[in-house]
């Protein structure tokens, strides 16, 4: 099978969906002239400047106009580049996209089919305002769906599903990117179905995005020491495939959640609480959390490493559940 980068896989997803449905369009900063490896590379040549809409530098307009266009019947993809920048459009994403259908009592069967593309992640020496991964912020707020693909294969299949969903989807991809096999034939990946990245019997680790990559390395290191780790990638946080996680905990009795976001009120706290509600008797150790210890992300690599999750920190957290 051919190998694609995450951006190339997303590019294919957008191209296919835009060919299939004339109501799909993309709005964002600097979408053309195209420069190399981006999800929107080369799309303007096929779809024109009206549907590949290069926006003024206003996240408010990028996200807010997507909401307005969705209300008027289109299916916008709002390219916000970095999650850090999307904070400028929280009223538009959290309150308008997330809550308007509910606030208006689904009047006229109101639909908000929007995809908000956001890049996340550190490990690139970009500092506190270019490195954030605010998954929990969006998960906390009602009305949104949240996709966090790890592989190019998942990025393509989930993005196609996101574009076809009648609800707003926040779609996070890590700025480190990835490359991997992607089939030529069309496929979609349903929301709410976790992928077991590695089967194991001794401990369950839940991770998303680049945290999956780090966790698989940790699992490999521990394998040599006789510890058999199961790695679950939920792929979407909303909806969350909690059953797959709970089933795994019933098998292993141990749970660690790895999250690049700040720890407080985070993804690990939420998944930990849900597992305790559903499978407390199965737990043989406290739920472990590996996350940013509630600090802004510093610039200098040794400082960044001190704050963000690492293979060593994940290994230590797994070990702690075993002693």
């Amino acid at each position: 099978m051919r190998t694609l980068t995450t951006s190339q896989a997303m590019n294919e997803a957008l191209r296919e969906e835009m060919r299939r449905d004339p109501s799909v369009y993309v709005v964002g900063l600097g979408l053309y002239p195209s420069t190399g490896d981006s999800a929107t590379n080369g799309l303007v040549e096929e779809f024109g400047e009206s549907r590949i809409r290069s926006a003024p530098m206003s996240e408010t307009v990028i996200a807010g106009s997507a909401v307005g266009a969705a209300l008027a019947g289109l299916r916008p993809v709002a390219e916000l580049h970095l999650a850090d920048f999307a904070f400028n459009a929280l009223d538009e994403i959290l309150s308008k996209a997330g809550k308007w259908r509910y606030m208006h009592g689904a009047n006229g069967a109101m639909k908000l089919p929007i995809v908000f593309l956001q890049g996340i992640g550190g490990y690139v020496a970009a500092g506190a305002e270019h490195s954030q991964s605010p998954l929990a912020l969006y998960w906390h707020s009602p009305g949104l769906k949240i996709a966090v693909p790890t592989t190019p294969y998942d990025a393509k299949g989930l993005l196609k599903t996101a574009v076809r969903d009648d609800n707003p989807v926040v779609f996070f991809t890590h700025k480190l990117g990835d490359s991997g096999p992607v089939p030529e034939d069309e496929y979609l990946i349903p929301f709410g179905v976790a992928e077991i990245r590695r089967a194991g019997a001794d401990a369950t680790v839940v991770a998303t995005s680049y945290m999956v990559t780090l966790t698989l390395q940790a699992a490999q290191n521990l394998e040599g020491q006789g510890v058999d780790v199961e790695v679950i990638d939920p792929r979407t946080l909303e909806p969350l495939d909690i059953e797959t996680i709970v089933d795994s905990v019933h098998k292993t009795g141990r749970l660690v959640v790895v999250d690049e976001d700040t720890e407080r009120c985070g993804v690990a706290a939420e998944i930990g609480a849900q597992v305790m509600e559903r499978a407390f008797p199965a737990l043989r150790a406290p739920v472990g959390r590996v996350a940013n210890p509630n600090l802004p992300i510093p610039y200098s690599p040794p400082l960044e490493e001190a704050v963000l999750p690492s293979v060593a920190k994940i290994e230590a957290a797994i070990r702690a559940t075993l002693t």
């Binding site: 369009y25 709005v27 009206s50 549907r51 809409r53 926006a55 003024p56 206003s58 408010t60 307009v61 996200a63 807010g64 106009s65 997507a66 909401v67 307005g68 266009a69 969705a70 209300l71 008027a72 019947g73 289109l74 916008p76 009223d91 538009e92 309150s95 308008k96 308007w100 259908r101 509910y102 606030m103 208006h104 009592g105 689904a106 009047n107 006229g108 069967a109 109101m110 639909k111 908000l112 089919p113 009602p142 009305g143 769906k145 009648d166 609800n167």
Partner: protein, 316 residues
């Protein structure tokens, strides 16, 4: 173009219906039957001159003040009042209160954040542009709302993309009890149009025919693909900020503006020109009163939502 006598009567009737609706809603706030609040647009009905110029397939976005947007577009007062009373039969099934969408009439929702609707108007106009067609979006906001970045970035985007948006600022001189010079650098909001390379015009907002005429031009421009315009309607709110708010504005100023009441002014002009008779005036008012009483009964007789309804409507 001056509206025909029939159009003038229609416009006058809309103004009266809007006012009686708002009086009815105001009384229901005071009696406690409306559990939330109502931000009255009484005195600002001249804006209907602009709304009346829209076609049924056009769109309207606005935020917090007045009922004339709904009445002018043809929304049902029964469903509006039922919503304000928190009833299941209301437009938002009791979930929105003042936040009402009437998609059938091109009202796509009401923003709880003032100025939150401006980028949405840009998006609706984007949809029109992508689909192709000559619909327009009218986006109404207050002069206080002109302070928000959403307003400015949306005006810029509409101009850059050449979108069919008609921005309508209702300048009533106050944000709550705070007078405009305390928060707005320019005294004519229309001046902001210069920064976004579009026409900007100051209009007497209490002269409904002047508003009608100015809007006609702006809408024609938008329909012809010539991009956005900004109209500023100078007006005055005849009620406090909200129905239960304390009004700290100068009473003498309020009295002076009351003499310029847009409905009274239009009525005098219509009687003078023979379009309206005293008898017809009374009939229009009585019909509006009867209509809103019926709407109030409908709202009162409707049932509240069941607690389980709170769990519906989040996802499509």
């Amino acid at each position: 173009m001056k509206p025909t006598p029939a159009e003038q009567l229609e416009l006058y009737t809309l103004m009266v219906r809007s006012r009686v609706f708002e009086e009815t809603a105001g009384a229901l706030v005071v009696s406690g039957e409306i559990p939330g609040s109502w931000l009255s647009g009484i005195g600002q009905e001249g804006t209907l001159g602009a709304i009346h110029q829209l076609r049924p397939d056009d769109y309207l976005t606005y935020t917090h003040r007045g009922a004339y947007g709904f009445i002018g577009r043809g929304s049902d007062p029964k469903l509006l009042l039922a919503e304000l009373l928190g009833k299941r039969t209301g437009y938002s099934r009791g979930k929105g209160g003042r936040h009402i969408a009437d998609l059938e009439h091109g009202i796509l929702g009401k923003s709880g954040t003032i100025g939150g609707h401006a980028p949405l108007a840009v998006g609706v106009a984007t949809a029109i542009q992508i689909r192709g067609g000559d619909q327009v979006v009218m986006s109404i906001f207050g002069e206080g709302t002109s302070n928000r970045g959403t307003t400015h970035s949306s005006m810029n985007a509409a101009a850059v993309w050449g979108l069919p948006v008609v921005w309508v600022c209702e300048n009533n001189g106050y944000m709550g009890n705070v007078p405009a010079p305390m928060y707005t650098a320019v005294m004519d909001i229309a001046d902001m149009a210069v920064g976004y390379d579009m026409p900007g015009e100051v209009v007497d907002g209490n002269d409904v025919l002047a508003v009608h005429e100015a809007a006609e031009e702006a809408i024609a421009r938008a329909r012809a693909g010539q991009g956005p315009s900004l109209l500023e309607l100078k007006t005055y709110r005849m009620r406090p900020f909200g129905e239960t708010s304390t009004d700290l504005r100068d009473p003498a100023e309020a009295t002076a503006w009351r003499a310029k009441d847009p409905i009274r002014r239009f009525r005098s002009a219509l009687i003078e020109s023979g379009v309206l008779t005293d008898g017809a005036t009374v009939a229009i008012s009585e019909a509006a009163t009867a209509e809103m009483e019926t709407a109030r009964s409908y709202a009162r007789d409707s049932s509240f939502p069941a607690p389980s309804d709170a769990f519906e409507d989040l996802y499509a």
